[in-house]
């Protein structure tokens, strides 16, 4: 395997030697002398008045250092939300609790076992109230989730973006007008895109170390957003940013659920400051289910209107999205991300409306894909139903309605967004060829002739990611209270040390994406330096310039571009130094093989010599400042718009409802690829989470607001036996909005997968009259759908 750094080549991951030998340092692995441990007292009720909190028995226990209730922390205020719509989460709630798992009190003890014992000894008296859980019930406003609010509906997102009520009505009227045509069919289906629990295998963990006398904080957290957490700690404790260091060391998966500032992070810091010792808390798996954000949770009716020969005349979506009890980071903004891709990669008129309602359940927020998998699911499911109704190959119906490649650059989606680059038909063709589409259909038909229920499903998607322009703050996306004036820049610092090694510091907060490798590849490629000579520092607000972190498939496109631009600046200065040392023209200097070369000659100088000179101003060109480092901030002009085509083949046992995934083909286009190995790995994991939603995962609340699937016994994740090996390919349509031409790949697999599987299962059951089954397609539900269709 190649060990050299070639952009687009393969480098073994530099993070792996530690992780495969048990040396990986995750937050819960941090040990500081005198660390105290936290356990929370949490509400067992979804909606209840807290009548009293008696902490005396807990406080009397050996080893208990403190028990805090709401009165102790009220002065700090509540959490804040980027889009400040809806109720904000109190740090501790001793008034009226709003979901099961809401924090009521915090115990700090010398030992984690004692902390849990003491939490059990805190006596809370509740008066349980009726809960609002069902989305339609919430929308009706028959009962309010927050008594001080006028409505449970927090906001309604509509598309096309920017259209006023009259313009929206005109789009709707235009689609409605077509419905009465003789050659037009209308297909409509209400579908549930169920709530999901993100379930990174590492539970969240935070440890705060307030340094008495120094008056500063070191906070270790399993977070995707170290800079925002530092800003939040600064806000709550009235400290300047230079007095707070957040370190996100190894983070064991995030998928969006570590993209939040949580009340527990603030509370652990509070306890550390109060007690003058390091304080740690690591959530249990049950807390991860009840008190860490969840995702999805939509019910909507999708309607497709089109001609009998496959020309689509309009798509409509009308539904309700579950925000949970409190708005946290992006909560109400998640369905807005659906607006961006509401019309997919298609050119037909689209009318889109989602009402965001509050319920007595845990907050929803960004889970891998965040609004885009939901939007793509509805569009691609109803498009498939329409294709089936008119009897046209579903791949060809898609092709017929794409925005054409010739419309780029300059294409604007029917939802009103300018898109960077796209070539959807080439991607579709590549997928069909890779899967052997006609052969696959023939294989399916042959299996059916034997009486087997085999199905083939296809779905295509466009996603929007790589946020994004710093001007998003003008749309209301601002985390100013957490001292992030513009949350969406990328930022990177590249420094060459006097020995010719280099360090890149960057504001990302990865959780498995291989940044230690990718950033070193970018710097190594620009400087002609071996990746082994380049250290990457991320997830550390003391060492790295501020950036918002790692989410929304943004790191390569935004921070990676900043890394590239900082490298270019260093390269430019190094070229001047090398030209001076080699007595050559700066224009002839090229970087490769560990140093600078004069093109067309054998004259060269190594990085050790260039670096040594850089730190000796007297040998530098006249007037040149010493040192060799550069900082770059990158603010892209647009988001990026990756796309792809996924195809699945399934077999259903009609007697039991059991679904088996036989083949899965992904053809994704994320622009240029820095590491094919890492990009494919992201797609594998993304597909697995999409398949997980399609077939297994379901966060189920009962009508009293109890989360019935709060353990991994009841919340079913795909295992190795549930998935096949994936067959991946790619097309490459570089973006023109960043210097690397990369678009982002973290979420694509998840955005493409769920509807692909459901389309395949419905195809398998076509002969039995099944037209739709709501996810997850577990055996009982599939079996019931067959029975209902046969009845």
């Amino acid at each position: 395997m190649s060990s050299t750094s070639v952009l687009g080549g393969v480098v073994r991951r530099r993070e792996d030697p530690a992780l495969i030998q048990g040396g990986g340092r995750y937050t819960d692995d941090v040990k500081l002398a005198g660390t105290a441990h936290v356990a929370f007292v949490r509400s067992p009720f979804a909606h209840a008045d807290v009548l009293s909190v008696d902490t005396s028995a807990a406080e009397a226990m050996d080893g208990v250092l403190a028990v805090y209730t709401a009165a102790d922390v009220e002065h700090l205020g509540s959490l804040v939300a980027q889009v400040p719509v809806g109720a904000l989460r109190p740090l501790l709630n001793n008034g009226t609790v709003k979901h099961v798992g809401e924090a009521v009190a915090m115990v700090v003890a010398e030992d984690p076992y004692v902390a849990r014992d003491a939490a059990d000894a805190v006596d809370v008296d509740y008066d349980a109230l009726a809960a609002v859980v069902d989305l339609k019930h919430s929308l009706s406003d028959e009962m309010l989730v927050h008594e001080d609010m006028e409505s449970n509906t927090l906001i309604s997102w509509t598309g096309p973006f920017g259209a006023d009520a009259d313009a929206l009505a005109a789009v709707k009227a235009g689609i409605d007008e077509q419905k009465s045509r003789d050659d037009v069919v209308v297909v409509s289906q209400e579908m549930i895109n169920q709530r999901l629990i993100p379930v990174p295998i590492e539970p969240r963990s935070v440890m705060a170390d307030y340094q008495v006398g120094y008056g500063r904080f070191d906070v270790y957290s399993s977070t995707q957003i170290p800079s925002a957490l530092a800003g939040a700690i600064g806000k709550y404790f009235g400290m300047a940013l230079n007095q707070v260091t957040v370190k996100a060391m190894e983070v064991g998966g995030g998928f969006g659920c570590k993209l939040n500032v949580y009340n527990d992070e603030v509370l652990v810091a509070f306890a550390s400051k109060q007690l003058g010792c390091p304080v740690k808390w690591t959530e249990t798996r049950r807390e991860a289910a009840n008190s860490t954000i969840q995702g999805r949770g939509w019910i909507a009716t999708a309607t497709m209107t089109g001609t009998t020969d496959g020309e689509i005349l309009g798509f409509e979506l009308d539904g309700i999205a579950d925000m949970g009890a409190y708005s946290q980071n992006f909560t109400v903004a998640i369905p807005f991300l659906g607006v961006f891709v509401g019309s997919g990669q298609y050119s037909f008129p689209t009318h889109w409306k989602m009402d965001c309602v509050t319920t007595h359940t845990m907050t929803t927020d960004a889970y891998r894909g965040a609004g885009r998998p939901e939007a793509a699911y509805y569009l691609e499911r109803v498009l498939d139903m329409y294709a089936r109704k008119i009897g046209v190959d579903p791949a060809e119906v898609r092709r017929k309605n794409y925005i054409s490649a010739s419309e780029f650059p300059g294409a604007v989606s029917p939802m009103g967004f300018p898109m960077d680059t796209g070539d959807y038909e080439t991607n579709l063709d590549a997928a069909l060829e890779s899967a052997g589409w006609s052969g696959l259909l023939a294989e399916r038909d042959a299996a059916r002739a034997e009486g087997r229920h085999v199905g083939v499903g296809i779905a295509t998607y466009v996603e929007v990611c790589g946020f994004g322009p710093s001007g998003l703050v003008d749309l209301g996306f601002s985390w100013a209270e957490y001292q992030m004036p513009s949350a969406f820049n990328g930022s990177s610092l590249v420094r060459v040390h006097p020995d010719g090694s280099a360090t890149v510091s960057i504001g990302t907060g990865p959780s498995g994406q291989g940044h230690q490798t990718t950033w070193a590849q970018i710097v190594g490629d620009g400087l002609g330096m071996d990746v082994d000579r380049i250290r990457v520092i991320h997830g550390d607000t003391e060492e790295a310039p501020p950036s918002i972190g790692t989410f929304g498939s943004r790191s390569a496109a935004v921070d990676g571009s900043a890394c590239y631009e900082a490298t270019q600046k260093v390269q430019a200065k190094a070229a001047r130094i090398a030209a001076h040392l080699l007595e050559a023209s700066e224009d002839d200097i090229e970087f490769a093989d560990g140093g600078a070369h004069v093109a067309g000659t054998d004259s060269s100088v190594g990085w050790d010599e260039i670096a040594k000179a850089a730190y000796q101003p007297h040998v530098l060109p006249e007037g040149m400042e010493g040192g060799l480092e550069a900082h770059a901030i990158f603010s892209p002009g647009n988001a990026t718009w990756p796309f792809g085509t996924h195809i699945a083949m399934v077999e259903v046992d009609a007697d039991t409802g059991d679904v088996r995934l036989l083949r899965y083909i992904g053809m994704d286009d994320c622009g240029n690829v820095i590491s094919p190995m890492i990009v494919d790995g992201q797609i594998h994991g993304g597909i697995a989470q999409g398949v997980g939603q399609a077939m297994f995962e379901d966060a189920v609340y009962d009508m009293d607001g109890n989360l019935l699937s709060a353990s991994l016994v009841d919340y079913i994740l795909p295992t190795a036996v549930d998935l096949p090996s994936f067959e991946l390919g790619r097309t490459v349509t570089p973006t023109d909005i960043n210097p690397l031409g990369v678009k982002g790949i973290g979420e694509a697999g998840t955005i493409g997968a769920a509807q692909t599987v459901v389309n395949a299962v419905v195809d398998a059951l076509e002969s039995l009259g099944v037209t739709h089954i709501d996810m997850p397609l577990r055996p009982q539900r599939v079996w019931q759908a067959i029975q209902d269709a046969q009845a």
Partner: protein
Amino acid sequence: MKVSMSVNGRQVSGEAEPRTLLVHFLRENLGLTGTHVGCESSYCGACTISLDGQAVLSCTMLAAQADGADITTVEGLARNGELHPVQEGFWERHGLQCGFCTPGMIMSAVTLLEENDNPSEEEIRRGIEGNLCRCTGYHNIVRAIEYAGAKMRGEEPAPAEWENA
């Protein structure tokens, strides 16, 4: 109470409460933080260790129950600076992303290959069914274990998929 055991070839002993979980004893008393706690309910497999030659879940076993046992954790796999073939396979075939499930996954894979060094893909998938990974979709974990199996049989592993691309 005092518990003694052999961990990674070293005889160790320490004080533990009767209720102390083995995983906490390993992590807190012995400082072996490579073994992870993922679910505390024996469903995720992140805490898998080798105990008397069997892959067991250290989050649902008491330290007291391991008294006298012979334990290997992920820290004990590499010998004399040389990675175990399974560790090498995970590195060479991108069998990990965030790395949190990896120690448990590797310990299960080691046990699997000790029992059968030439497993089919289906046998590999069944062998690691008790270990959840949320990052990789298991695709490259299967490739990593295939790589390790080949190495343990003294064969040349199949090229990586990206080498064929």
